[in-house]
């Protein structure tokens, strides 16, 4: 017999998610997630307990024929090491490593470039040379930077912006009113500069790693006698020399 319950729609309750303000704690765990986690924990605990029990009830006189060949070190069984890679496989894997290193290097360089588009190193001491052409020796002797640039003497060394006297008088600085407003933004800026430095340093390391890997790969395919010309110095790999032989 059909009842009114089938006809009247009931409000479906939706699952509530993690609030946005707590998003740093990740997914909000529900009962189903808890059950998965608890089952996994309990299964592992039971397995470990079973192994502990077996170890405590070990028969010291046990023997298996496999014990003839097996090796132990300080009472721990040493699993036989996998056989080393053959030459061609190793060469191919090194090629893949090289591609990965190149990719990581490119990523770092691009990210550093993108950051540098907005960070122009204004507070750094000036590194360029600025030559002013004057007419004669008298003008050279009487040259005064503040006068030439028409600026206040304390601003004469401020290479990135030496405002003229007219600009100082008429124009105003726009934006934040106090240093407190700017503090957080300035901290982020310092962090951004450090990130640029760190990324460029890592890109340099990648270049060095790639050079070492390229040298190794070249050595693997070298045929004939190989002589060492120069040892490893300043992060560069050692230099070897061999006669080029035609592959038959």
């Amino acid at each position: 017999m059909s009842s009114l319950r089938n006809a009247v729609k009931r409000k479906t309750h939706k699952e509530r998610a993690q609030p946005a303000s707590r998003s740093k704690f990740g997914l909000l765990e529900k009962h189903s997630d808890y059950v998965l986690r608890a089952r996994d924990y309990n299964a592992k605990r039971d397995r470990l307990n079973a192994l502990r029990l077996k170890a405590s009830l070990r028969n010291p006189d046990e023997f298996y024929f496999g014990m003839h060949k097996a090796k132990t070190k300080e009472g721990v069984h040493q699993v036989e090491g996998s056989s080393s890679l053959d030459h061609e496989t190793a060469h191919m894997l090194k090629t893949q490593d090289m591609a990965y290193i190149h990719m990581k290097r490119a990523v770092d360089i691009k990210k550093a470039e993108r950051l540098k588009a907005g960070l122009h190193m204004l507070d750094a001491p000036p590194q360029n040379t600025h030559t002013v052409f004057v007419k004669n020796k008298r003008q050279r002797r009487a040259f005064d930077a503040a006068e030439y640039f028409d600026t206040a003497p304390e601003l004469a060394g401020r290479t990135f912006n030496r405002p003229r006297m007219a600009t100082l008088e008429s124009k105003q600085v726009l934006g934040a009113e106090s240093r407190a407003d700017l503090k957080k933004a300035l901290k982020q800026r310092d962090a951004a500069y450090q990130e640029v430095e760190a990324r460029e340093e890592r890109a340099r390391k990648m270049t060095r790693a790639a050079a070492h890997l390229a040298a190794q790969r070249a050595l693997m395919t070298a045929r004939g006698t190989v002589t060492k010309v120069k040892g490893a110095e300043k992060g560069q790999p050692p230099v070897y020399k061999w006669k080029r032989q035609r592959a038959k």
């Binding site: 470039e113 540098k116 588009a117 907005g118 960070l119 122009h120 190193m121 204004l122 507070d123 750094a124 000036p126 590194q127 360029n128 040379t129 600025h130 030559t131 002013v132 052409f133 030439y148 640039f149 600026t151 290479t159 990135f160 912006n161 030496r162 405002p163 003229r164 600009t167 124009k171 105003q172 600085v173 726009l174 934006g175 934040a176 009113e177 407003d181 700017l182 957080k184 933004a185 300035l186 982020q188 800026r189 951004a192």
Partner: protein, 247 residues
């Protein structure tokens, strides 16, 4: 970049150029197309001074990358004058895709004019697209070595900027100046030492370029290298056919 209260924008000695200090340490120009970036550069918004009826205006700036643009590197290097004031006419040789040209167009404003010359077709296409939204940019897809070919498009200009990266760039600049640059006008040339002569020392190359300019009627005013933005590059600022001061 949001937050009017978290950015400080100070006016630069050159009109039309600004320095923004906050999360970014950037040189910027006033955006003549607010809300739109030309080549994916960052936009900075600041609360302007309140208007007469108390409403707050928002002023928008575009960040100018000195690692890509030689003029920006020269400005941050401390050049005394770039001679591209608002309302002036500028002939820009070697415009490429128009990224620097858009900033020069912001500086000269609607009263000024930028004649951008670029020979290659692909960057020329980008230049034309950029010029569609900026009415003070006139794109010229022609070889700068033959200024006669575009003489009907260009009037007399106040400043010639050259970033052509050619070994005979002094000759190119001189030829264009003889046709288009007014007496008492100025030229700003970016010299790449390895491009002009890759074997000589950079200092020698710059001195050679300056002497070539002198022989063409230019009076050099200043020369500055573009470290740390570029290596072995220099910008030379010179005056063209300066009026002789009577003693």
């Amino acid at each position: 970049m949001k937050g009017g209260a978290k950015v400080v924008v100070e006016p630069h000695r050159h009109e039309g150029v600004f320095i923004a200090r906050s999360k970014e340490d950037a040189l910027c120009t006033l955006n003549s197309t607010p809300g739109k970036a030309v080549y994916g550069e960052k936009l900075i918004s600041v609360d302007g001074p309140p208007t007469a009826d108390g409403a707050t205006t928002k002023i928008e700036y575009r960040v100018w990358n000195p690692f890509r643009s030689k003029i920006a590197a020269a400005i941050l290097g401390g050049t005394e004058n770039i001679w591209m004031a608002p309302g002036s006419k500028v002939l820009y040789l070697g415009a490429a895709a128009g990224t620097s040209v858009s900033h020069v167009s912001d500086i000269v404003g609607p009263a000024g004019c930028v004649y951008a010359v670029e020979f290659a077709h692909r960057p020329g296409r980008d230049l034309i697209n950029m010029a569609k939204s900026r009415t003070n940019v006139i794109p010229i897809i022609e070889d700068a070595r033959h200024p006669l070919k575009y003489r009907m498009l260009v009037g007399m200009v106040d400043c010639v900027f050259a970033d052509v990266a050619q070994p005979d760039q002094a000759r190119i600049v001189a030829l264009n100046s003889h046709y288009f640059l007014k007496n008492g006008g100025h030229c700003v040339i970016s010299v790449k030492a390895s491009c002009v002569d890759s074997t000589a020392a950079p200092e020698a190359v710059f001195a050679q370029e300056v002497s070539k300019l002198r022989s063409e009627g230019f009076k050099p005013l200043e020369q500055l290298t573009l470290e740390p933005y570029e290596r072995d590059h220099a910008v030379v600022v010179a005056e063209y056919r300066a009026a002789k001061k009577s003693k």
